[in-house]
């Protein structure tokens, strides 16, 4: 009985949460927790081996969004098994190592929490049975590696390295998302099993190339392949256990994992060969070459990781099953020796205080065990016989020799292979000979070196033992595991023999050549490097990936800033003009194609006869509009009045052309809008004519040019709209959906006024949205003005009031201080206006009730009632109204919205869709039979909300005069106090 697969992913994440909550100094508890979780999961995976080796694929489906075909799928085949083993097994060793590596001063909860979460994410990547899910975990690994690399966030290099890693791998991850979308589209499913079976269809698809490039970008950035290799050396700012983990079993291996995972689907084409092998070979050479010249031990290992990843990528790119098997094998081998090497570097750093090869020498005297272990691991890295690295490298050599590709590659590949082998021998020698052998320079080191605690060394020993066992007894130890792991990648396993001794064949000679060449290279470079030459790798040392990356980022930021300056919201006036211009151009293009002549000529529809009255009205309207433009700058009240005249002409136009409802609504809105703008006018600064005239000539000339430009834009816009409406109106009425409404309004909507029936019934949902907007706007206005303080210069008395002499005896009342302003000259209007209120309410009810059959309805009724209220404010003043009437517009809004929504929901209760209208016949005593539609209640909601919203918008503004008064009073008080 095994635990379900989900535990392998969920346990580390759960552990991460627990670890985050433990106290800062609980180093032992933290590491025990993490270690137990990693070990438990690793044992769990190990126990699954017999099933997996028998060819079984374990699958666990957890329904998530089954309607979209998205399930949380976990799936373990041989390859995923091997990777889980690496992730969890090496994870457990890293945890043990980290227990001793981390200093008591480091905040360990954060460390172990991130490490466990990273482990969970990595195990999620390898176990995902769904591509999207894999990408999700993939991005999580980028995120947690960012947090781990930046663990010592007080260090600048850590922050920078972490940011670079995140930027590069995150950007690649985005490409991968796009690639996966394409891949899933091509394969017809995102389920891994389906995708793996759809290889032929995928490779033949026209979208194969873009998809391949995108997926490869994701894999190459993650696996630090050329030209994205630069982030990896910068990521070594991480604590060494993290580096050991990221460089060996996880993170960078995720990229090659993906390549191998999708090998059955994507490989086998020329594009795959050139792209993958090309990137792999470049990485192999560049990484190996650069590694030789590193003086930082971690840097050396980082570049060697790049180089080995290049080797794995190359093997996967060769389109040969045997090479793919070698790739899987090398993934395994590299993980073991690289993890142990990083740990050894951590020990050296820990015990001596430096990682600089130039300062280290003769360490074998002080830490013989560590030195031995590190030397063996480095030998494995160099590909020395009887170690695991040798076998996989041998496989690479034989593939390089026997591969039948195009002639150029045929010859070049073995040469490249040998050269890369020489590099790896050379840097392995540098790692061991320079550090452990040679003169004793330990006196100059920051700390006196000695052996580390035994348990810190234990993980290294385990890994080095694995290198040895695999290297000497491959058939016994690793053959079956490798077969199991490689089978899902290549499908049908090719024959391969993991013997140490194959006889004197070409690959062996190549191995020897690279060994000898590497040794020669090491000694050739040794003395110049000791003398301080070649501090940077020749040829490629000048190309600084970090600098390129940084300048790229800086350019990107700069471009973003420029774009924002161009298109940002800083200059609204300019933007509005651009908006109008773009609209003009967008409209002009189709108009040009049609030809304005044809549009001007008009259509076939019989036109309405010319009416002199209407022509007169046209003149009034046009005159008012241009008058408003003329006066808008200096005589704002005049402009406002003229604008209202244009509004009234609009009202008459609606009424003239058979739209009584629109005329009514526009009329009431007109009144409210005028009051609204008038209220606002009080707080906007006045412009003085003589100031404009006294400006310098240049400024005025420029203003004239600007006005001319705007005028021509405006005329173009006007001409365009006129042309468009002319062309439309003169053509016949097309069959639209309107007959539907005309036919159904009475039988189904129960009303004769089709417009009203549409608003409250057919298009009721639309109206619900609209009244919601209205309510939201009203509340926003309220919120905007709640904290508003008028500008000091507009807080003073209006000039008309200032003109009065202080000692004037008048019956003028001050509406602010007077309890009832309905005295003196205001008595008559106040009394009349108060009488209007009940009348207006009656008219509102009348308009509301007839709305379903005659012009009227909730909107108009609401506007009429709120106008009546506003008139009270205008005449009697804010204070009097609010002392005598408890209006609370917010409640009107709330009840309106609730009524409308509840009416709509009511139809659910009867089993109909939202907002279905019901009609019922009710007989009431005295009144008789009544035809009641549920739309009536809906309209009540509309009515309530319109009253509330209008009142709230207007009173919020009206209250400013009370505020302004207060500001003024305060100032006067202060002045008086100052005078005393």
């Amino acid at each position: 009985m095994h635990l379900p697969l989900i535990t392998l992913v969920a346990l580390p994440f759960a552990g991460s949460l627990i670890a985050a909550l433990l106290p800062t100094n609980a180093r032992n508890a933290e590491s025990t927790l993490a270690g137990v979780i990693a070990l438990l999961c690793a044992v769990q995976v190990a126990l699954l081996f017999p099933d997996i080796a028998a060819g079984q694929v374990i699958r666990q489906d957890i329904p998530w969004l089954p309607s979209l075909g998205l399930n949380f799928v976990l799936r373990m085949d041989g390859f995923a098994w091997m990777f889980s083993m690496l992730v969890l097994g090496i994870g457990a060793l890293v945890v043990l190592y980290a227990r001793y590596y981390m200093s008591p001063a480091d905040p360990v909860p954060r460390f172990f929490a991130f490490l466990l979460a990273f482990m969970g994410a990595m195990s999620g990547v390898v176990l995902s049975g769904n591509l999207f899910q894999m990408v999700l975990f993939w991005e999580l690994t980028s995120l947690f590696s960012f947090l781990l690399i930046g663990y010592w966030h007080h260090r600048k290099d850590a922050r920078r390295g972490a940011r670079m890693a995140l930027t590069v791998t995150g950007a690649g991850g985005l490409c991968l998302v796009a690639g996966v979308v394409l891949l899933g589209h091509i394969a017809g499913s995102y389920d891994l099993d389906v995708v793996l079976a759809a290889g032929d269809a995928v490779r033949a698809h026209p979208l194969y190339r873009p998809m391949l490039v995108l997926v490869l970008l994701g894999a190459f950035t993650k696996s630090a392949q050329f030209p994205f290799q630069f982030w990896l050396p910068n990521a070594m700012a991480a604590p060494t256990p993290v580096s050991a983990y990221l460089h060996s079993a996880t993170m960078v291996k995720a990229g090659v994992f993906l390549l191998a995972r999708l090998w059955p689907v994507l490989a086998g084409t020329d594009e795959w060969f050139w792209l993958v092998t090309g990137a792999g070979l470049a990485t192999l050479l560049v990484g190996g070459f650069a590694a030789i010249f590193q003086n930082d031990l971690k840097g050396l290992l980082a570049y060697s990781t790049i180089s080995h990843l290049g080797l794995i990528t190359t093997l996967l790119g060769l389109n040969s099953p045997l090479a793919a098997v070698a790739a899987v094998f090398h993934i395994l081998n590299h993980a073991t020796f690289k993890a142990s090497l990083f740990m050894a570097v951590g020990v050296i750093d820990h015990e001596t205080g430096t990682r600089d090869i130039r300062r280290l020498s003769g360490l074998a005297r002080y830490m013989p065990v560590t030195a031995t272990l590190a030397t063996v691991a480095a030998a494995a890295m160099a590909g020395v016989p009887l170690l695991n690295g040798f076998i996989s490298k041998e496989m690479f050599f034989s593939e390089a020799v026997f591969l039948a590709a195009s002639p150029g590659i045929d010859r070049a590949l073995p040469v490249v292979a040998v050269v890369a082998g020489m590099f790896s021998v050379a840097y392995s020698l540098r790692f061991t000979v320079e550090v452990f052998l040679g003169r004793d320079k330990c006196g100059a080191l920051p700390r006196q070196p000695h052996e580390p605690p035994r348990w810190m060394r234990a993980p290294i020993s385990v890994l080095v033992l694995a290198c040895l066992v695999v290297g000497t007894l491959p058939q016994w130890s690793i053959q079956r595991i490798l077969e199991t792991a490689a089978r899902p990648v290549v499908g049908v396993l090719p024959d391969f023999d993991l013997a140490v001794w194959h006889g004197f064949n070409l690959p062996l000679w190549m191995s020897l050549l690279s060994l000898v060449g590497g040794i020669a290279l090491f000694f050739a470079l040794r003395s110049p490097m000791r003398r301080g030459h070649l501090a940077k790798a020749p040829l490629i040392g000048r190309i600084n990936g970090k600098r390129v990356f940084r300048s790229l980022l800086a350019r990107l930021t700069l471009a973003g800033r420029h774009t924002r300056r161009l298109f940002g919201t800083r200059r609204l006036q300019m933007q509005l003009m651009l908006l109008v211009l773009v609209t003009l151009v967008a409209a002009a293009v189709p108009l040009r194609r049609l030809g304005s002549e044809a549009l001007l000529a008009g259509g076939d529809r019989a036109m309405l006869e010319f009416s002199p009255m209407f022509a007169l009205m046209w003149l009034v309207g046009a005159g008012a509009a241009i008058g408003a433009v003329w006066q808008a700058k200096y005589h704002r009240l005049t402009a406002l009045a003229l604008m209202s005249v244009a509004g009234l002409v609009t009202v008459i136009t609606f009424a003239w052309f058979s739209a009584p409802d629109l005329a009514l609504t526009q009329l009431s809105v007109e009144a409210v809008t005028t009051v609204l703008i008038m209220l606002g006018l009080r707080w906007l600064p006045k412009r003085l004519e003589d100031v404009g005239r006294s400006q310098p000539l240049r400024v005025r000339a420029r203003a004239r040019v600007r006005r001319g430009r705007d005028l021509s834009i405006a005329l173009c816009a006007g001409a365009g709209l006129a042309l468009l409406s002319w062309a439309m109106m003169t053509r016949s009425f097309p069959q639209s959906i309107s007959p539907f409404f005309l036919e159904r309004a009475l039988p189904e909507g129960g009303g004769r006024n089709v417009v009203n029936v549409m608003l409250v019934d057919f298009r009721g949902f639309d109206t619900l949205g609209e009244i919601t907007v209205l309510g939201v706007v009203a509340l926003t206005v309220y919120a905007l003005l709640r904290r508003f303080r008028p500008a000091p210069e507009s807080a003073g008395l209006p000039p008309q009031q200032q003109a009065l002499p202080a000692d004037l005896v008048t019956d003028l009342v001050d509406p602010y201080s007077d309890e009832d302003p309905a005295r003196g000259y205001l008595m008559v209007p106040a009394v009349l206006i108060r009488l209007v209120l009940p009348l207006a309410a009656m008219i509102a009810v009348y308009l509301f009730m007839r709305g379903h059959n005659e012009p009227g309805g909730g909107f108009v009724a609401g506007l009429v009632l709120s106008t009546a209220f506003i008139v009270q404010y205008v005449v009697s003043g804010t204070q009097w109204v609010e002392a005598h009437m408890d209006l609370r517009p917010q409640r009107w809004i709330a009840f309106g919205l609730l009524t409308a929504t509840a009416t709509g929901l009511g139809s659910f209760a009867l089993g109909y869709p939202f907002l279905t209208t019901h009609t019922a016949h009710v007989s009431l005593p005295l009144i008789g039979d009544l035809h009641v539609a549920s739309a009536l209640f809906y309209d009540i909601g509309v009515f309530l909300l319109v009253v509330g919203a209008t009142l709230l918008i207007l009173t919020a503004l009206g209250h400013q005069s009370v505020r302004g008064r207060r500001v003024r009073d305060n100032e006067e008080d202060e002045r008086k106090e100052g005078a005393h």
């Binding site: 609504t665 705007d710 639209s736 500008a791 209008t950």
Partner: protein, 123 residues
């Protein structure tokens, strides 16, 4: 020109729409918030009529059943009715925004600063 012979209600309405649009757009391109609000309202008139006449011009045929043989197209009317109310809400919002912006920025220019002033340095 055949245009003069074509002086019909359609012609008047079309030119009226164009004229008010031009006035509205010109005002909207001004820099101070008050003319912009006026322009917005004027443009609102023109656009509402424009949408309304997409149902063509009808005289004496309101979309009320039982009052005549023909009815004007109710669809644009229903749309415009909503547009009028929303237009009012927008005007209310814009004017209060203008007030607030004037109080915060110290100017009633729509850019939030006087035309000659240097913009704030980018962070």
């Amino acid at each position: 020109m055949s245009l003069l012979a074509n002086v019909s209600m359609e012609f008047l309405v079309a030119t009226g729409i164009g004229w008010v649009t031009a006035c509205g757009v010109y005002l909207m391109l001004r820099g101070r918030s008050f003319p912009v609000v006026l322009g917005l309202t004027l443009l609102g008139y023109a656009v509402n009529i424009f949408i309304f006449v997409m149902g063509r011009l009808w005289s004496g045929a309101p979309p009320i059943l039982g009052q005549g043989a023909v009815q004007a197209d109710p669809l644009p009317q229903a749309l415009v009715l909503t547009a009028i109310v929303i237009g009012f809400a927008t005007t209310g919002f814009v004017i209060e925004l203008a007030l607030r912006s004037r109080a915060e920025a110290g100017t009633d220019h729509v850019d939030g600063r006087e035309p000659g002033e240097r913009p704030e340095r980018d962070a």
